[in-house]
């Protein structure tokens, strides 16, 4: 099962806008993605409530897993990992 570990980049953690954007992106993927805290139970990445309940704060590592193998899975993991790592609370760069 393809996996990706990534540290949460937003200073407010995987919460509020960062969490909403992550969940919306997960729902758009053609493969099911799950997300977990390191060593924790994996939850459905399309579920905002489950993602919030992870309590993932700035700098915490989360593990993304794809249900299937293949290029689509790799691409989905890549997109979601980028979202997790991004700092949405930083002032917009022009």
């Amino acid at each position: 099962m393809p996996q990706r570990s990534v540290a949460v980049g937003s200073s407010s953690g995987l919460h509020a806008r960062p969490a909403s954007l992550f969940v919306q992106a997960a729902a758009r993927q053609p493969v099911r993605i799950s997300v977990a805290r390191e060593g924790g139970t994996a939850v459905d990445a399309r579920s905002l409530l489950s993602v919030l309940a992870l309590g993932a704060r700035h700098g915490d590592t989360v593990v993304l897993s794809a249900e299937d193998e293949g290029p689509q899975a790799e691409q989905a993991l890549e997109e979601l990992a980028t979202l997790v790592a991004r700092d949405f609370d930083a002032p917009e760069q022009s």
Binding site: S11, R46, S50, L52, G55
Partner: protein, 550 residues
Amino acid sequence: MTTVLTGIAVGTGSVTGPVARMTPVPPLPQPRTVADTAAETGATLAALHDVVTDLESRAATAGAAAAEVLAAQGMMAADPVLAERVAELIRDGRDGAHALDAAFGEFRTALEAAGGYFAERAADLDDLRNRAVAQLLGLPMPGLPAPGHPFVLVAEDLAPADTALLDPTQVLALVTERGGPTSHTAILAKALGLPAVVGCGAADTLTEGLPVLVDAAAGTVQLDPAPEVVASAASREQRRRERAGRVHGAGRTADGHPVKLLANLGALQELSGAAAADCEGVGLFRTEFLYLDRAEAPGLDEQTAAYRQVFDAFAGRRVVVRTLDAGADKPLPFVNAGDEQNPALGIRGLRTAARDPELVDTQLAAVAAAAAASSAEVWVMAPMVSVPGEAADFAARVRAHGLPVAGAMVEVPAAALRAGAMADACDFLSIGTNDLAQYTFAADRTLGSLAALLDPWQPALLDLVRMTAQEGGRRGRPVGVCGEAAADPLLALVLVGLGVTSLSAAPSCLGEVRATLSEHTLEDCRALAALALAAGDAQSARAAVLDRTG
């Protein structure tokens, strides 16, 4: 016969309008056995879906800040795992309402376990659960009413979440069964300039559509008032507004004794209103808003930019910045320990600086950088100072950052009892009457049932104000009041008579305070203060002063 309900008066002014009640949370019916689980699942998920659609359509018409909150709530209600869990619980034998209750409850527990600002979303889940259950049972949607015409909002109590969406053009007045003079409802009413009566226990008898006359100065709600009563109240209100608008500029008594009139400021969205108000500056700039809802403290640059905005808006005027007051009712994960049994008496306010000096140093550096680039007269004060040594340490720290004026808040009785030494240790004192009342009377300020003890007219509280103002005055140090007490025009006279040199309140309250001051000499104020101090309790203190000024 007319019926008049009484409660705690908040703000001033009066208004007549029809009652619209906050719709209560639907009670869960008795559990029932479900024969057709497929139909029950369908109906329950449809109710949940309706809640999502409703939130989305409200988000589309709301302002930007409210729209974001509503859209996030919509996403929570649309959660696929939530729907799966509801269906599962119905398959296991629950009826729809109980399945919704249990599923939301499970997520609520999980969010609370995640702690910090994740746990703050628990209130959203309660709201969604209530909406979904009401939808399923065909009951009216809980929350703010929308009768389509201006109304007097009647509720058991109002939480910040209820009032975020409140439309000030539709709400004429607030009446709540619970809440005290420093409750969220009271602060909101003052910020919006609405008349309010809180802690009005009999408000549960007010029925939908009933015309009521809310008199915030008297703290009364008159049911179905006669036309002549309405007309006379309306003309009184008209005169009050004219009077409040008649006097402008710097605050002073009839004989010209200056009393600085300043605005309280707690968020950047209040800034343009406060800066446009007729005031001599900001007497209490609460800086907590910069720190809320985040995992770590904001950096130097971000803070500097925010302070700069405030100082620029108040160029040439005074701004009293209160350093971070975290703890008790506003804990922050990176400041406060979560393991305190009694956080109101714990490491809060200035006490957090001993544990994390960098926090306050970054804040002072940001204030200093912003002040250097502005013509505002920037003063800095610390919250929750208990002993003169703390005030001296804080003042040294402030001056080390190149800021010339450092003060201490007097919120702890010990600080008032030793006001002389406190005043020697710094440049000015500012009395926070809300917390000073809480600590003097050992009465939790969030408890509506203790509202009588928290009344700012309590003679024992006024004694502490007198001691502080006298000791400050002897040393030529300004002594301000920045609690809710400063918003009451009559009490403002008493405070000035006790020796207070500035008053800071919500901008909407300042006009009447200014007008009332202009009608009384300093000698009048001293006589009124003596009357209030001689009274046996808060009510008779108020009555004696009202009678004399009549």
